[in-house]
Amino acid sequence: MSSQTTAINSGVHAKKADIFCQDEARVDWHSKALWMLREKRDRAAASLPEWEQLRQLGSEMKLHTLTHLGEYLETFEKNCQANGIVVHWAKDGAEHNQIVHSILAKHQVKKLVKSKSMLTEECHLNPYLESKGIGVIDTDLGERIIQLAKQPPSHIVVPAIHLKKEEVGDLFHDKLGTKAGASDPLYLTRAARAHLREQFLSADAAMTGVNMAIADKGAVVVCTNEGNADMGANLPKLQLHSMGIDKIVPDLDSAAVLLRTLARNATGQPVTTYSSFYRGPQTGGEMHVIIVDNGRTDMLQDKILAESLKCIRCGGCLNTCPVYRRSGGFSYNYTIPGPIGIAVGAQADDTHSIPWACTLCGSCSYVCPTKVPLDKIIHHHRRLKAKAGKLPYGKRNYMPLVGNFMASETMLNCSMSVARTALRILPGSLLKPFSGAWGKYRELPVAPKSSFEAWFNKNRGQ
């Protein structure tokens, strides 16, 4: 990724996860909340007999588009222009922000209502516009909460998942004047609704992300549950949409495939409440689309990393990830956390620790609706870091030793037998310090009496 997306608040993953893990009850609660989403996803997926077919179609269709991206982008631009949409191209986040600012400045915009967009987070648009004197209001409830709390999102679909309702209550009391001590989600949501309605009605312009950009129509699709993108885009006369080059799909038929899996995989809903198709500005209005690269073309030069651009940002891989659920979104040094965050953010991670925030269990790849091979990509990142001589401290020192050690059968067999005996006869408290970070939140395993090799030779061997 380009310098625009260098790591935020860097710190080695394990250290930052440690901060989150200090409150054990919160970790359990966080993990459970996300696992609930995973279970809802499983039920939604199981209710469609064609689920695997849709994943396969999603994967092939995205790969087809990515390998013909230049053509599709040009077709998209041409068709947008025919529909009265102004198209801009930005090579990186800085250029994206300048383009947005120049459009807003031309229309003397003082207040912009924004609907959730990971891309504008990636480009750090908000602070940039605020430095230019433009008020930016995030309008997705979760985004508004963290904006008021001055925090970045900790999840790509449920950005305030790390906060408890009491914390939101205190925040709203402070910023929106709700009753002290109130924590009822219905009451708090209604208060936010009233507050944000005023913002929508008084905004000069609206900005949204793009879920899909339809090449042969020259249209963009925006999906929300709250209706904030549409309340925004359809009130003021000026609407802006930012999209990564990877958001292109060839036609309406391909958009339909992704619309069937996106919400099911994100929250278990059959579809988002609103899937809106914009094919031109409202009467007397203006519509702009900004197409952004910001490191994506670089990723396409690597066969394995390229596949991460199949992602449709459903968040499914975060919800299932055992590491994400127990380390929180702020431990990843990137706007996008979890497995997909590692896939697209590891190169910019100056601590070089993020590719190790993964057990390579493969659960993420298994749930992904477009079959992004996340575990393969993360493993590839480890190799890239090793090749570049950028292994994080610790791994750099002992990994080569482990390599030599594993390569020697005698050494391995002999020491494993020592370990088994030690695990059986020595007390856990004596051994635990040797298990390092791994053993901190885990019990040591019960050692088997013999090695697998001995068992195999006895029972299955010739």
Partner: protein, 189 residues
Amino acid sequence: MSSKQSILNALKSVAVAPQAMPSINVSPRLDDVIGQFETNLGTVAGTLHREGGLAALQAKVDELLKEGKQVISQVEGVTGNRNAPDTAHELRDIDFAVIPGDLAVAENGAIWVNNQHLGHRVTPFICENLFLVVSADKVVANMHQAIKQISLESGEFGVFIAGPSKTADIEQALVVGAHGACSLNVYLV
């Protein structure tokens, strides 16, 4: 070089070999399509009214008018007490909007609404509550079939609406009624 040109140049060398576009051919579930629609609409917190058609809807609207509610109707044959205003912002106090849907999708409870029938694009979002009217013979099985039938002309806006607006951003508690309509009732005609 323009940014557009440099992006397009970089895209000339993608590391993955060109892949063919798959043909999208998913068999629809055709048993009891309206029953499926009703169930899924319920899942997304909407309510289906199968009987009574437009007359039932008008009776409901009349009740609301008696209570002093502000009702705008874009459906021929249903009369409210408000006309489409000049500016979208004047819709801010609308309690109920009655809007025609072009078609409905059984697999997920969504209804396609096109801006040719909206007056202002913001109407289905800014109203406190929403009534949608769909013809029973326009209920299709799945999104693949639906997308083949929607018209999205140049300059237009269209939206699949599946239920009232909702959020679960505060501790994952589902709250119906975020920024858009707080309730959705669908009348089959």
